[in-house]
C-alpha cells in the first residue's frame, strides 16, 4: 500500500497549482461578483489539456488518471469553486458517459472536441418534478422514422448556456419505469432545443446554471447513447463518477478556506497577540485539518478504485458526503475566525462558505449519499 | 602564471553616448583605496569613439593613468570589439585587479573577458578590500543565495582578479581638479571578421519620465500593501511633495503594477537615498539587500512583525492608505 503521489502526479500538482494561483485565483472574486462565466479561463485550461484529463489519447484526451483529474478539480476549487465545477461537470457528466456508453462513431465525433475544450459539455437529468427521485422523468423521447423527438425541460443544468453538447436523460417508455429511460446526445444547434432562464444562485455564481427546453427537438436516431432503456443506469453510473468530482470540489473549497484562515489568524492580532496563538484557534483548526486530510484520502481512494476498474459507488458517496459536510463546516468556521471581516467581501471566506453549500446538494444531496452508503450496508 | 608580474588596479570606464556612467567614477573611488593599500596605480580603460575628453574627469576622480582606445568599432558597446580591446590591455599590461560596473554592459563584457583570459570573476561585489595581513589578499564580498548569505571570494592563482560592482554601491571621490595623470592612446588590432558576426541594427532610448531611482535622494517605495496603480498614485503625490521618486518592491513589478526600472532589491536596483520611505513593503531579504544602506529608513506597514521594521529607523504600524495622504497634506500645508 502506498499513499504517496507518483512523480507524475507530483509534477501535475506543481503545474495545476501554479495555473490555479496565476490564472484562476485573480479572477475568482470578479467572477462571483459579476456572475460571469470565466470563458477565458476555460480557453486557457483547454490549451493545456485540462478539459479532457482522463480521456484517452486516442480520443484526443490527455490520457491522465482520474486521480489527476480529482487533483485538478481540488486545486482549481481551492481558489475558485466556479472554475472547479465547470471542469467537473464537463468531464464527469459529459465526457465520461460518452466514454462509458458511446459507440466508436460517437466517441470519435464528440470526445476529441470535448477533450480539447473546443466544445463544452453538460448533463441534463434533473427536472422540476424529478430531483432526488430521478426516476420520475417527464421529458419524453419518441422515435419518429430516423429521428428522436424530445419534449420537456431540464433544470439546474451546470454549463447550460455555454455548453455545445448535452447528455440528456429522457423517458422512452413510461410503462417500463426506470427501464423505460434512455440517454441521448443533444447538440446546442439541434432544432427545437433552447436554453431557458439562468438561475441566480447563492454560490458558484460564475457557473452558468440554466434550464434546458425541448420543444419537438429533433435529433438523428444515432444520437441515442447506450442501449434503449439503459439510460437510468447510465445516469446513475455517471453520477457515481461525478460525485467524486464534486467531492474534490468540496475538498478544494475546504482547503482554500483553511489556507485563508491560517494566513489571517497569523496576521490578525487581538489582546496583543496573533489569534493563531490562542488555544481555541489551534484546537479547532487541528480538528478541521484532520477532517480535510480525511476527505482527501476518501477522494483519492475513490478515484483510485475508478482508475483500477474496481467498484466505487459507495466510495464515491462517502467521499462526497464527507467532503461536502467538511467544506461546509470549515468555511463556516473560517468566516467565524475572520470575525466581521469574514462577513464582508473583502476576504474570500464568505464566498467559499456560499460556494460550499451546493456541494451538499447537487449530484445527489447528502441524504442521497447516505442512502447509497446504507444501501450497500444493508443489501 | 607568475603572479608578481601582475600589478595595478584597472577600471572599465563605462561611457554611453560619450557620457561617463556614474558607476565608473564610483569604481575609481574604490580602486584608489585598493591601489593605495598596495602602493599601486589606478588605471582607467576608456573605450569609445571621440571619448578622449572624458579622460580628465577620470583623473580627477582617482585615475593615475587613462588608456584611451578610440575606434569607430567602439562607438556603441558591442561584446566582441570591447572584449578584444580589454584583452589586448590585459595581455600587454597584466593588471592585478580589474573592476567593471555591473550594468547590462558590464555584465555582458565581464564574463566574456574572464573566459578569454581564463580567470575568475566575482559578480556584483558589495565590498572589496585588501586584507591587512601579510598576504595582502584581494577579498571580494558579494551577496549569494538571493541575498540571504554573504560570501567572500578569492581569486588566488589567476589574474586579473576581476569583479563587477553594482551602481550605487561604492562611493566616488570628490572631484579634484588638481590631480595629475597620464593619458595614453592605445591602439588595438581588431579581428574584423569576428566582430562582424553581430550587427547592431539600432539602439532605442526609452524616454521614461523616470529619473534613475538609484540616483534619487528621496524614495517613496511601495510594496504589496499598496496593491494597485491607484495606491501608487498616493505615493506619487507624496514623492512629489518631498521632491523624490517612487520606487517599488519586486511583488508590484511582477504584478505588472510598476515598471521594472523602479524595482529596488536583489534583482532590481541598489539604492542608498537620504530617505527611504517604505510603504506596505514587508521587507523580504531580497528587498532589504537593495535598500538597507539608505541613510534614513521609515517604514509603514500593517503587520507589526514585518521584517522591514528590523531595518527601519522609524517604524509605523498602520494603514498606509490613510497615513500617506495625510502626510502629503501635512507637508503641503507646511510648505505654505
Amino acid at each position: 500500500m502506498d499513499f504517496s503521489l507518483s512523480k507524475k502526479e507530483e509534477l501535475f500538482l506543481q503545474m495545476i497549482r501554479e495555473f490555479a494561483e496565476k490564472e484562476v485565483k485573480p479572477l475568482a472574486a470578479e467572477v462571483d461578483e459579476e456572475e460571469r462565466f470565466p470563458m477565458e479561463t476555460v480557453k486557457k485550461m483547454a490549451k493545456i489539456g485540462l478539459m479532457g484529463i482522463p480521456v484517452p489519447t486516442q480520443y484526443g484526451g490527455a490520457g491522465g488518471t482520474n486521480i489527476m483529474y480529482g487533483m485538478a478539480v481540488e486545486e482549481l476549487s481551492r481558489v475558485c469553486a466556479t472554475t472547479g465545477v465547470i471542469v467537473s461537470a464537463h468531464t464527469s457528466l459529459c465526457c465520461a458517459p460518452i466514454l462509458e456508453a458511446g459507440t466508436e462513431e460517437q466517441k470519435m465525433k464528440y470526445l476529441p472536441k470535448l477533450a480539447s475544450g473546443e466544445w463544452i459539455g453538460a448533463f441534463g437529468l434533473t427536472e422540476p418534478n424529478a430531483g432526488t427521485d430521478a426516476a420520475g422523468q417527464q421529458t419524453t423521447a419518441v422515435l419518429e422514422g430516423d429521428e428522436w423527438v424530445l419534449n420537456g425541460s431540464k433544470i439546474f443544468i451546470t454549463n447550460g448556456s455555454y455548453a455545445d453538447v448535452f447528455i440528456i436523460i429522457a423517458m422512452t417508455d413510461k410503462s417500463l419505469g426506470t427501464k423505460g429511460i434512455s440517454a441521448f446526445i443533444v447538440e446546442k444547434t439541434d432544432p427545437g432545443f433552447s436554453v431557458g432562464k439562468k438561475e441566480k444562485k447563492m454560490g458558484i455564481r460564475g457557473s452558468a446554471t440554466t434550464e434546458l427546453i425541448f420543444e419537438d427537438c429533433r435529433i438523428p436516431k444515432d444520437r441515442q447513447l447506450g442501449q434503449l432503456g439503459k439510460g437510468f443506469g447510465l445516469a446513475m453510473k455517471t453520477l457515481d463518477g461525478g460525485r467524486i468530482g464534486i467531492a474534490c470540489q468540496a475538498l478544494g473549497i475546504a482547503q482554500g478556506a483553511m489556507d485563508e484562515t491560517i494566513k489571517y489568524t497569523k496576521e490578525r492580532k487581538q489582546f496583543g497577540r496573533s489569534i493563531s496563538q490562542f488555544q481555541n484557534t489551534q484546537f479547532q483548526m487541528a480538528d478541521l485539518e484532520t477532517k480535510v486530510q480525511a476527505a482527501r484520502l476518501l477522494c483519492r481512494s475513490a478515484h483510485y478504485k475508478k482508475d483500477m476498474g474496481l467498484p466505487y459507488s459507495a466510495d464515491a458517496a462517502m467521499a462526497k458526503l464527507f467532503s461536502a459536510e467538511t467544506a461546509m463546516e470549515v468555511t463556516t468556521k473560517a468566516v467565524q475566525f475572520h470575525g466581521g471581516y469574514g462577513y464582508t467581501r473583502e476576504y474570500p471566506v464568505e464566498r467559499m462558505m456560499r460556494d460550499a453549500k451546493i456541494t451538499e446538494i447537487y449530484e445527489g444531496t447528502s441524504e442521497v449519499q447516505r442512502m447509497v452508503i446504507a444501501g450497500k450496508l444493508f443489501k | 602564471m607568475n603572479l608578481t608580474e601582475y600589478k595595478d588596479v584597472y577600471v572599465f570606464a563605462e561611457q554611453r553616448d560619450g557620457k561617463l556612467q556614474n558607476v565608473a567614477l564610483e569604481l575609481l573611488g574604490k580602486a584608489r583605496e585598493l591601489a593605495d593599500a598596495n602602493q599601486e596605480k589606478v588605471v582607467a580603460m576608456l573605450l569609445g569613439k571621440d571619448v578622449k575628453p572624458l579622460a580628465q574627469t577620470l583623473i580627477e576622480h582617482g585615475a593615475d593613468r587613462v588608456l584611451v582606445v578610440d575606434h569607430d568599432l567602439l562607438k556603441d558597446y558591442m561584446t566582441e570589439p570591447y572584449t578584444e580591446a580589454i584583452t589586448a590591455i590585459t595581455t600587454e599590461f597584466k593588471p592585478s585587479i580589474m573592476l567593471i560596473g555591473a550594468t547590462t554592459i558590464g555584465r555582458d563584457l565581464g564574463p566574456r573577458v574572464s573566459a578569454r583570459n581564463r580567470t575568475g570573476l566575482t559578480a556584483d561585489a558589495t565590498k572589496l578590500e585588501i586584507s591587512d595581513d601579510e598576504a595582502h589578499e584581494f577579498r571580494m564580498t558579494r551577496p549569494a543565495f538571493g541575498g540571504n548569505l554573504m560570501a567572500t571570494i578569492l581569486c588566488k592563482n589567476h589574474r586579473p582578479q576581476m569583479s563587477t560592482v553594482r551602481p550605487g554601491v561604492m562611493q566616488k571621490m570628490a572631484a579634484d581638479a588638481s590631480r595629475k595623470g597620464e593619458v595614453v592612446d592605445y591602439k588595438v588590432d581588431f579581428d574584423v571578421k569576428k566582430i562582424s558576426r553581430v550587427k547592431l541594427v539600432k539602439t532605442v532610448k526609452e524616454e521614461k519620465t523616470v529619473a534613475d531611482i538609484s540616483e534619487a535622494k528621496i524614495l517613496v517605495s511601495g510594496g504589496r500593501g499598496v496593491g494597485t496603480k491607484d495606491g501608487f498614485a498616493k505615493l506619487e503625490a507624496l514623492a512629489k511633495e518631498l521632491g523624490g521618486e517612487v520606487s517599488s518592491s519586486r511583488a508590484m513589478v511582477d504584478a505588472g503594477v510598476m515598471d521594472q526600472s523602479r524595482q529596488v532589491g536583489q534583482t532590481g536596483k541598489t539604492v542608498r537615498p537620504n530617505l527611504y520611505l517604505a510603504c506596505g513593503i514587508s521587507g523580504a531579504i531580497q528587498h532589504l539587500a537593495g535598500m538597507e544602506e539608505s541613510e534614513l529608513i521609515v517604514a509603514i506597514n500593517k503587520d507589526k512583525f514585518a521584517p522591514i521594521f528590523s531595518v527601519a529607523d522609524l517604524g509605523i504600524v498602520g494603514d498606509l492608505h490613510k497615513i500617506v495622504p495625510m502626510l502629503t497634506e501635512r507637508l503641503r500645508t507646511m510648505q505654505r
Binding site: L11 | T79, A115, T203
Partner: protein
Amino acid sequence: MNIVVCIKQVPDTTEVKINPVTGTLIREGVPSIMNPDDKGGLEFALQLKDKYGAHVTVITMGLPQAEAILREALAMGVDRAILLTDRRLGGADTLATSSAIAGALRTMDFDLIVTGRQAIDGDTAQVGPQIAEHLDLPQVSYMADLKYDEATKTFTVKKQLEDGYQILEMQAPCVVTALASAVQPRYMTVNGIVTAWDKEVEVWNADRINVPEDHIGKAGSPTSVFKSFPKQLKPAGQTFEVSPEEAVELIVNKLKEKHII
C-alpha cells in the same frame, strides 16, 4: 534548426528564511525549481519549435535530482533532455561550469544556444557569455525578444538595456541569454506530464565531454569561497503602533530631525 537550452535547478530563494535566533539560512523545505530566466529562455526556444519545427534539447549540469527540471521541460514540449552529472564536476565556479557545459555542447549539433540571463541562487549572469566564449560564438545577453528569418538563418534579438533596448542581428550558430520577464513560459500540458517519463533522460558524465581535468570542477575554478556568513542587518529603530494622526507627527518630526524637510 537545432536549439539547445541550458537550464539549472535552483532553490526558490524567495522561499528562503533566516533563523531569527542563529541568523543562519533555513534551507529545509525550500522547493527546487527551474531557474526563472532559464524557463524564459526555454519558452523562446519552444516558440521557435512551434513556428519552424525546431528540435529543442535541454541540458542541465547538477546533482542527479536535477532530473526533475528535465522532466518538467519534457512536459513543456522539448524533444531531448540531457543530465550532465559527475562528482568531478562539483565545486565548480562559473568558469569551470561554463567549461563543462561548453564541452558537452561541442559534441552536439546546434544553431542556437539559449541560456537564462542569470540564476537566482547566484545572480552572476556569467555562465551564458562564458559558454559563448569557450565555443567562440557570438552572443547577445539580456534577450527580451527573439525573431528568426529562415531564408538567411538570421536571428534578430532585442537586448534590454537600463535605459532602452538594442536590436541586434546574428547568424547561426550563436548564443543568447534570456530574461524571464520578457516572456510568459507555457504551462506543462497534462499529456506532456503523462508522457514525460516515456522519454529518456540521457545521463552524461565527465568522460563524455572531453574537457581537460584542470578546466572542470574545483580544479578548474579560479575563484574560491574564503568564507560565507549571514548578512548583518543594521539594528532596528523604534516601531510605533499609533493613530494615523500621531503617525504623521512622528514621521514629520523624524524628517525634520534628519534635515530632510
